[in-house]
Amino acid sequence: MLNHNTLDEILNKYPAKEKRNRKKHILIKNITQENQEIEANTRTIPGIISSRGCAFAGCKGVVLGPLKDVVNIVHGPIGCGYYAWLTRRNKGVSKAPMKNFLPYCVSTDMQESDIVFGGEKKLARTIDEVVQIFQPQAITISATCPVGLIGDDIQAVARSAREKYGINVTAYSCEGYKGVSQSAGHHIANNGLTEHVIGAGDMEEAPQKYTVNILGEYNIGGDGWVIKKMLEELGYHIQAVMTGDGSFEELSNAHVAELNLVQCHRSINYIASMLEVKYGTPWLKINFIGIRSTVEALRSLALYFGERELIERTEDYITRELARIEPQLLPYRRICAGKTAFCYVGGSRGHHYQGLYEELGIETILAGYVFAHRDDYEGRQVIPNIKSDSDSKNIPDLHVAPDENRFRLKLSPERAAELKDKIALSTYAGMIQDMKDGSVIVDDLNHFETEELIRILKPDIFSSGIKDKYVVQKMGIPSKQLHNYDYSGPYAGFEGALNFARDVAMSFASPTWNYIEPPWAHRPLLEGTLVKGDMENA
């Protein structure tokens, strides 16, 4: 266990000021203390090797990238487009194979002369060529660092392209230096999609009963497909998924849904809140990772619509699935029982996977987020208390008003109040409340702290991304990538839990580890010195 003294020893490596800074980002959970506060979403310390990315990564890479029938143009020098090319492994299948643009990377490849003379004309030419080559219904333009600095007006270029071609062209000023992490880019993308895309379709009413959107599900490893299949079997209609395997067509009509389900709170909560104001659609925080969470999500969803038949169908489904999955999990549980994990992922998985680990008998002794805000740790009730700083002010909050024609009150105030006692309606309680006493919560965990905390807490498995994966494996500890799932998955729902159990158990049981000699193998079990005289007596 980590105590404050050992934590201080680690942090003493930093200069005094940075020690004070980092200390605010690390918590040891204490159940006797109410409202433990953590600092988050503040500037990364320069030179400390963090896993955080930039606003461009959050906007183009995370939120816009998975839209399969949209051509995402990267306006900038080649690197950023190249690095964001299909890197999140989100999967997408298109009814019209020629309209699936996921495998393409399109960049304006700005050169030095463009930096000097401006890149607007090149961007406009690029749009012309994209329309000619791909004939998409929608185009997004994401800005990289130099674009804002040289003053290219990408919004104006987008506007004139909209007029010229009559298609949906949106621009996102998500230059890498905006905000303090990719989180800024999520916000920028959320604003743009709410303003220009959602509601652009002509549907007025939900096409059928139980129509919902799934927000913050990026279909990594096919998670979105598992969730969609499960919900469709239960009789729900999925209008749009934001944005895994997502399409412009569906997204533009997302305003008709009766409820928004929120999987990744961090990256999409802005859309959830704005759609509630604009179209009267409440949102429900659910988590489809882990068996109990999935059960809870399905029950909450049924309760929201409240019809008896739906509730019964849901219960039958849960009983059937549990009976099917539980026995299959047993052999994996035997391998996993008693193990410990670190769970350090982006903005929601650091929390979401803890329940699934627990179901396998693995305790999460350390967890954290790369780019989350305080509300993802402490719960949304802290939002009014979060100090806004110059970095967060740079990302404008979009103020939406109820849509004159399309606002529908989906829930009466009485019914909403009644439901709020039972389900996580338009709220999120955060990670900390689910963690055990004595466990460690770290925001923006860096490489130095990773190594030190592994040395002290000796976890049996480390869940993170590729940047720490090889550090951890070089330390002789299995890692499980929870960003791209090491090309495995899906891990969502009942079926996914089984996949995850298999993958994690395999990590522990691999014969490879037998060839690694433990550090004590060549040390004598007993140490002593030969005292003169002993030999003579012998």
Binding site: Y14, C54, Y83, W85, R125, P146, E451
Partner: protein
């Protein structure tokens, strides 16, 4: 030979190269005890670490000065200096590379000046901070690589008394290839200084305890000695003069420069070992003679299969040239030779290599969409290059032999060996087997169709 000048349009559709700082990171990874900090938005370092890790399957620690919006207005020197403080305190590096980015260069940050100020302010004497201007729009990763090597040498090499050691500058190869080049030179008794030597740092063995900075790399002492060496062998035909570390050593310290191609293929390896023979006066050892013999034997065995090969080759210019020459040596047509970055040298070298042929197209400063069109037009039946070329397989069914950087959808990219006689044999076998795989998986039905089912009345 047809040199296609500008296939470039405004849009780059599926790029064939990454940006400058990525290559520069790789160069610094070959220096003992070195760390790198990128001056710019933290996304740059995160994206590059991610991409390099994925290819090498190694921890890639690269710091960032994490410039945020106010920094773009007031300048980022405070961020960079703070970043250097922290990097030094936590990692104790022997040398630090400072790379600039699109952001830093666009707002006019002078990293060399900031570095100079920093060493004075912190009273650090001659502590080696090596700043390299690498804006993303300044070139591709292969250019960033050479520029960084040149800056490292320029910063550390000293006017030392002449000695008998030989400088060896390698382009971006695999760590296993650097080990192979060292083995060849050891076998020939060459006393060398190889730079940058990432043979251990980017392919480090599992060992306890974990080292924050992987062991290995060209040492500062060796770098300092490079100015007094008896010769420099620079394994690159395509490096531009202003980026060439060998030119720097020749210009500043009058170290004679020998430009050798990457020793892939029998001719290029012959050139390399003959150069070593000439410089050292040592004969070719029996071991290498026998490896050469085995290669020849293998080439004879494989030539009949390879004669059917029409290759599309893409990647870094030096790699493209090396692979094109191995193809030419064994009867494979290098039908399309392409690099993402501009390279006049590649065009000229390809002209010499394929003189008299009309079925070879060289294209530089291009993207994979153009390469795909050319490959289809040329009826290519094999692709040789990095993983991003998988798109040629997915869209056009052209099988891909993975080579170069990055290889992110297969393991072992860092362990591939294609240099020297033995390495050439391994690469040629991979190419031949790829052609055989296409042939054997389909030749029975194809023959049946062509010679029996379709023509009527003949039998």
């Amino acid at each position: 030979m047809e040199a296609i000048k500008t296939m470039r349009h405004s849009v780059i559709e599926n790029p064939c190269h990454a940006c400058m700082p990525l290559g520069a990171i790789l160069a610094f990874k070959g220096i003992q005890g070195a760390m790198v900090i990128i001056h710019g938005s933290q996304g740059c370092s995160t994206y590059m670490r991610r991409h390099i890790s994925e290819h090498y399957n190694e921890p890639i620690d690269v710091a960032s000065s994490s410039i945020t919006e106010p920094g773009t207005i007031y300048g980022g020197s405070v961020h960079l200096k703070k970043g250097l403080d922290h990097l030094i305190q936590v990692y104790h590096p022997e040398l630090i590379g400072i790379l600039s980015t699109c952001l830093a260069e666009t707002i006019g940050e002078d990293i060399a000046r900031i570095a100079a100020e920093y060493t004075v302010e912190r009273d650090m004497g001659a502590y080696p901070l090596v700043s390299v201007p690498t804006p993303g729009y300044g070139g591709g990763h292969s250019e960033g690589y050479f520029l960084a090597v040149r800056h490292i040498i320029a910063r550390i090499a000293r006017p030392v008394p002449k000695h008998h050691r030989i400088n060896v500058i390698v382009p971006h190869l695999t760590p296993a290839e650097v080990r192979e080049i060292k083995r060849i030179m050891d076998l020939m008794g060459v006393d060398y200084i190889l730079c940058p030597d990432y043979s251990e740092t980017l392919d480090s063995p599992f060992a306890r305890p974990y080292q924050k900075i992987a062991g290995g790399g060209t040492s500062l002492q060796e770098l300092a000695m490079m100015g007094g060496a008896s010769a420099t062998i620079e394994m690159s035909r395509c490096v531009e003069t202003h980026l060439s570390p060998g030119r720097y050593l020749a210009g500043t310290f009058e170290v004679p420069l020998y430009n050798s191609p990457v020793p892939v293929g029998i001719e290029a390896t012959d050139l390399f070992v003959n150069l070593l023979k000439e410089l050292t006066g040592q004969p070719l050892p029996d071991v290498l003679q026998r490896e050469r013999g085995r290669l020849l034997d293998g080439m004879i065995d494989s030539h009949k299969y390879n004669a059917e090969g029409r290759a599309v080759i893409f990647g870094d210019p030096d790699m493209v040239l090396a692979v094109s020459s191995i193809c030419m040596e064994n009867g494979i047509v290098p039908a399309v030779a392409a690099s993402g970055v501009h390279s006049k040298a590649l065009e000229l070298e390809m002209q010499t290599l394929t003189a008299g042929r009309t079925d070879v197209a060289t294209v530089t400063e291009t993207d994979l969409a153009v390469i795909r069109d050319l490959a289809v037009k040329a009826e290519a039946n094999i692709a040789i290059g990095h993983s991003d070329g998988r798109y040629l397989t997915e869209r056009e069914g052209i099988p891909l032999v993975r080579l170069g950087f990055p290889i992110h959808d297969r393991v072992g990219g860092q362990r591939l060996v294609s240099v020297g006689y033995a390495g050439t044999m391994m690469l040629l076998d991979r190419i031949t087997n790829c052609l055989l795989d296409s042939k054997l998986s389909a030749y029975r039905p194809r023959m049946l169709k062509k010679y029996y089912s379709e023509p009527s009345g003949k039998f």
